[in-house]
Structures are given as structure tokens and as C-alpha cells.
């Protein structure tokens, strides 16, 4: 299309996968390596989740969620220093014996960003800070672009038995936390062991707890394009059209509604229809549930299972965006699953 400027980054990529899911999913043994489950588990820090369903399934889903209380999102915003995480009750209770997820403030790629997931503390810092910190780390690969400042990632597995006060390796980490990375940052915190528990060592840092239910919105008389049973590898058009329609549904755009007469100067979008379908098309009412906050992948997985249970043979779509700029969309119709993974 357009000529790529030298200054611009490499073009963002979108990976499309078409697969088929088994009819019955055992909730005890979830097939974690298959799409869509593998996509969900690959993104650790998500901030927005949209589920779009036709109306009757949506009501079932909402009932299921309110019974199981799975739909409530519970996380906290807290101001901490890196040293506070590595010492005291916080360290023992949450990192050594518990399971938490934390992300610090900072623009990815510009500011230093610290994240803690599964006991692994990851510090993404630029070169001068990395040389001051004095810990082993690797450069973050930046897709082979020359003349840009390379950033370094230091990964520390805090659950190792050698990461205890008194051991030299851990003492170095503490030294770096006290002398180099000693500023106070805003973090988002999520306790995976006890999601709704507000007590614990975090309480002494005065966290601001946020509990949110999904926002439910309805879009009436939406024209539904035909969902193919199989999308071949070279068929980019179908994949793009479906993604476009799904994105418009997720932002509740009136362009997908039936009888939409908009000035062609503003938009010339038309919902894709097959040639032998009438101009009337099939319309349904759609419901969009939106969660915004800090979501671990386990939360999204539970929602996916609840959606599968309440949808039956109907279709549904899940879209999520994560903190590092990546996003994914899943559309399932019967047993045919389509996944779009966006890495920009």
C-alpha cells in the first residue's frame, strides 16, 4: 500500500487462525494448548474485555455470571516501591506462598515498566538504568531495527529457594531496589488465590480497591453476516470483513444496524451478505458486555467457559486488549472457532 517511511516502525501484524473446537469441553480438563484457550492464556495483563452475543444467550450468560459471581472484577491500585514488594509480609505472603499479578505504571517502550506474574518479576528498563542496576538481563529484541535505543529486560524468579534474605543473589536485588529503582510507583494488583479478599499485607499500603460489574448494552436489529464453516488460508477478505464487522459491533456502531441511512460522505460501510440472500437479511438483537480494569487470564478463561455453557449452538465473540498494545478477537460459531491476534 503506502511506502514505508524509514522512521516508521515495522507494520503491525494480525494473525488469523481458523480451528474447530470439540463439542463438549470438560471444565476440569480444559484443552489449554488449543485456540482459543491458548490465546487467552498468552496475554497476561488485559485491560478491556468485550463479549458480544445474541440476545437470548446473553440473558442466560448474565444469569450464570450472577449466580457464580464470576463476572465481578476485583483489583486494587496501590502506591509502592520495589523494595516494599521484596521485603516483609508482602513478600512472604504473596510471592513466596501466594499467587499475585502486578503491573507498574509506565508507557511500554518509553518508561521503565515492572511486572510480576507467576512469581517472576520482570523489569523493563533502558540501557543506563540497566547498567546501574547490576543484575543479569537480556536485551529485548526489537524486530531488527537499527539506530534505536535497545531496552533490557531483567527477569527474576522470586520463588526460587535462593531468593531469600541473606543470600548474595537476593542481596544484589535488594541493593538495586534500594539504590537505583527506589522511586514510588503506582501499581495495579490482583490476588489470584483469593480474588475477592481485601485483607492481607497489601492493606498496610492503603490500596484503592475497585470492584466492577460488566457494562451491558444492547444493539437492536443488527444485520448478521454469514459465518463461513471453513476459511481457507488465502482467503484474507473473509477474515478481514468478519473482523471489521465484529469491531463495529463492539463499539456499538449504528452502521451495522438494519435500515441505517447514513450519508455516503461519512461512511460507505455495508455489512457483507451473500449474493442469494435478500436485502432484508437476518437481523438479531445483540448484547455487548464490557469489563474494564485489570484482568488476569484466569478471569477471562472462566468467562469463556461460562459463555460456552450459556450459548449452546449459537455464536459469540470475545475481544480483549492488553496493556502492551496487543489485542485479540475470538469468534465461535458452533464448533468453528476463528481467532485474530493483533500485535502492533
Amino acid at each position: 500500500m503506502f511506502l514505508l517511511n524509514k522512521d516508521e516502525k515495522s507494520p503491525p501484524k494480525c494473525y488469523f487462525t481458523s480451528s474447530s473446537l470439540a463439542a463438549y469441553i470438560d471444565h476440569a480438563q480444559i484443552p489449554r494448548k488449543k485456540k482459543p484457550f491458548s490465546t487467552i492464556l498468552a496475554h497476561t495483563f488485559t485491560h478491556t474485555l468485550d463479549i458480544a452475543l445474541p440476545n437470548p444467550s446473553a440473558e442466560t450468560l448474565q444469569k450464570v455470571l450472577s449466580n457464580a459471581k464470576d463476572g465481578t472484577l476485583h483489583f486494587a491500585k496501590v502506591y509502592l516501591k520495589l523494595e516494599d514488594i521484596l521485603t516483609g509480609d508482602f513478600f512472604n505472603a504473596y510471592i513466596k506462598t501466594g499467587n499475585i499479578l502486578m503491573l507498574s505504571e509506565g508507557r511500554p517502550g518509553v518508561d521503565p515498566v515492572f511486572s510480576l506474574s507467576d512469581g517472576i518479576l520482570r523489569l523493563e528498563i533502558d540501557r543506563p538504568t540497566f547498567e546501574r542496576v547490576g543484575l543479569e538481563g537480556k536485551p529485548i529484541p526489537s524486530a531488527g531495527r537499527k539506530h534505536i535505543k535497545v531496552r533490557y529486560a531483567v527477569e527474576l524468579n522470586l520463588r526460587l529457594p535462593s531468593m531469600v534474605r541473606g543470600k548474595p543473589g537476593f542481596e544484589r536485588v535488594l541493593w538495586a531496589a534500594r539504590n537505583v529503582l527506589n522511586h514510588s510507583l503506582a501499581w495495579v494488583f490482583c490476588n489470584l488465590r483469593e480474588p475477592n479478599d481485601s485483607a492481607g499485607p497489601i492493606a498496610q499500603h492503603q490500596p484503592v480497591w475497585k470492584t466492577s460489574q460488566p457494562q451491558v448494552e444492547t444493539l437492536r436489529n443488527v444485520l448478521i453476516p454469514p459465518f463461513p464453516d471453513h476459511v481457507s488460508e488465502n482467503d484474507h477478505e473473509t477474515a478481514e470483513e468478519l473482523l471489521e464487522w465484529l469491531s463495529l459491533v463492539n463499539i456499538l456502531s449504528p452502521r451495522v444496524q438494519k435500515g441505517d441511512n447514513v450519508d455516503p460522505a461519512i461512511s460507505r460501510y455495508e455489512v457483507p451478505t451473500t449474493s442469494n440472500e435478500s436485502a432484508e437479511g437476518s437481523t438479531r438483537d445483540l448484547v455487548r458486555l464490557r469489563w474494564r480494569g485489570f484482568m488476569p487470564s484466569a478471569f477471562i478463561e472462566k468467562l469463556l467457559l461460562a459463555t460456552l455453557k450459556s450459548v449452546g449452538e449459537d455464536w459469540y465473540a470475545i475481544a480483549a486488549r492488553s496493556f502492551d498494545g496487543q489485542a485479540y478477537t475470538i469468534l465461535q460459531n458452533g464448533s468453528h472457532t476463528m481467532t485474530w491476534e493483533y500485535q502492533g
Binding site: P128, E131, R132, G134, L135
Partner: protein, 233 residues
């Protein structure tokens, strides 16, 4: 032995007489003791032994003849290491010995920066730069704050030796550490003197880039330094 009287028998004769018959003892004494050849040549390969030794000997003689002076050549690095001329012996590797040296160095630093006797209480980069560059760092308490090698960061010690490419520091645990200067930033503090307001005394912190200090201490005193821009920073 030369001091022994000739009339007395050779000590070797009396010893040999104990073990051998008189004839054998006399033969042995004559051949193995009195007429034993003394080797005057050093134990290098004998040039008469084989052709290679002969060639090497000729080559060395030629090189020696071509050499203008016969002055003793300076020691090579391997020879210096073997002789341990410049090593600090283990008994002297104690932090407590160098603490007074450090105190002297602090006073010296204050003097050359012009901070003593309350003459000045502020130092700026332009005026302090040339002074710091030509200063002597033996006895300074340096701490490594930034380095391309992660294991060096955090080392703190008193300088006992300042060579062209390294600093030798003695740490509080009485360990002698040799730290290369390249790609390393060292930090040291200069405390202002005790005055009436000693509560508000805060040390002045200086950071020096090892890359620019890669010269021998005596050479640095006379060298003129230009302002460099380091693209690595």
C-alpha cells in the same frame, strides 16, 4: 676445602674408604671427585648438541651483536608477575591499614578543590573537572555505580593501586579487587569539614567515567584533557 691442610686426607677419601676397597676408593676419588669437570656453560641447549640448538645459538649471538647497548632490558610482564614485585603481600591486605590513608586523601581532596578553611563551599563542573582529572586517587574510597559488567556494580573499596587500565581496591572484607576502568563509572564523596553547622553537612558526590581515566597516574598529572562526548551513555 682450601683451608684443609694437605697432609690430612680428603674427606671424600675417608668416606669412600668405608664403602669400597682401597683400590676402588682411590680410583673413584681420582675420577669422580678430583678430576670431575666443572660445567661453565649455562643449561641452555648446547649448540654442539644438535643442529637446531646451534641455529638458535647463532641467532641469539647475532641479535646480541646487533644490540647497541648492553644495558639490562626492562622486565617483561610475565617476569614481573613471577617476581611479584608489584603485589601487595597478604599481611598488608587489611582495610584497617588503609583507613588513615583515606582520611589523608579526603583532606588532600578538600585542599585541591579549594574547600578547606571555608574558602568555598560550592564546586561546579567546569572548575572542578581539570582538578579532578589530574588528582591522585590513591586512598580514595570508590564505589562502582555503573558498569557494562553487572557483577562489578556495588563494589566499594579504598584504592591501593592505580594502574593504566585498572584500579585495585581493598574492600571492607579485606579482599583485594582489581577493577578494570573501561565502561565503568566510579563514585566518590568528599565531605566538607567540620564546622559549626555540622548537622547540615552533606557530602559532595562525584562520578568519574573510567573510560576517560585510562592513563597511568603520573601521566595524568601532566596530560591535557579535552571534553569528550560519549555516545555510549
Amino acid at each position: 676445602m682450601a683451608t684443609q691442610p694437605k697432609s690430612a686426607s680428603h674427606i671424600a677419601a675417608s668416606l669412600l674408604a668405608r664403602a669400597h676397597s682401597p683400590d676402588t676408593a682411590e680410583t673413584l676419588l681420582r675420577e669422580k671427585v678430583k678430576q670431575r669437570p666443572l660445567l661453565l656453560r649455562p643449561t641452555s641447549p648446547d649448540p654442539t648438541l644438535n643442529a637446531r640448538a646451534k641455529r638458535q645459538y647463532e641467532r641469539h649471538q647475532k641479535a646480541k651483536a646487533q644490540r647497541k647497548t648492553n644495558k639490562p632490558r626492562p622486565l617483561s610482564a610475565a617476569q614481573k608477575r613471577k617476581l611479584s614485585l608489584y603485589d601487595i603481600p597478604p599481611q598488608q591486605r587489611k582495610y584497617s591499614i588503609y583507613e588513615p590513608v583515606h582520611a589523608m586523601w579526603c583532606a588532600y581532596m578538600r585542599e585541591i578543590l579549594g574547600l578547606s578553611e571555608g574558602k568555598k563551599s560550592h564546586v561546579d563542573a567546569q572548575s572542578a573537572g581539570p582538578v579532578l582529572v589530574s588528582a591522585d586517587y590513591h586512598g580514595a574510597l570508590l564505589e562502582i555505580v555503573r558498569s557494562r559488567c553487572p557483577s562489578r556494580v556495588g563494589l566499594k573499596g579504598i584504592v591501593v593501586k592505580d594502574t593504566k587500565f585498572t584500579f585495585e581496591l581493598i574492600t571492607k572484607g579485606d579482599a583485594l579487587k582489581t577493577v578494570p576502568k573501561e565502561y565503568t563509572v566510579f563514585r566518590f564523596e568528599v565531605l566538607l569539614e567540620e564546622t559549626q553547622e555540622s548537622e547540615s553537612r552533606r557530602p559532595m558526590v562525584f562520578e568519574i567515567h573510567g573510560n576517560q581515566f585510562e592513563t597511568r597516574a603520573p601521566d595524568r598529572a601532566n596530560k591535557k584533557f579535552r571534553w569528550h562526548f560519549d555516545p555510549d551513555l
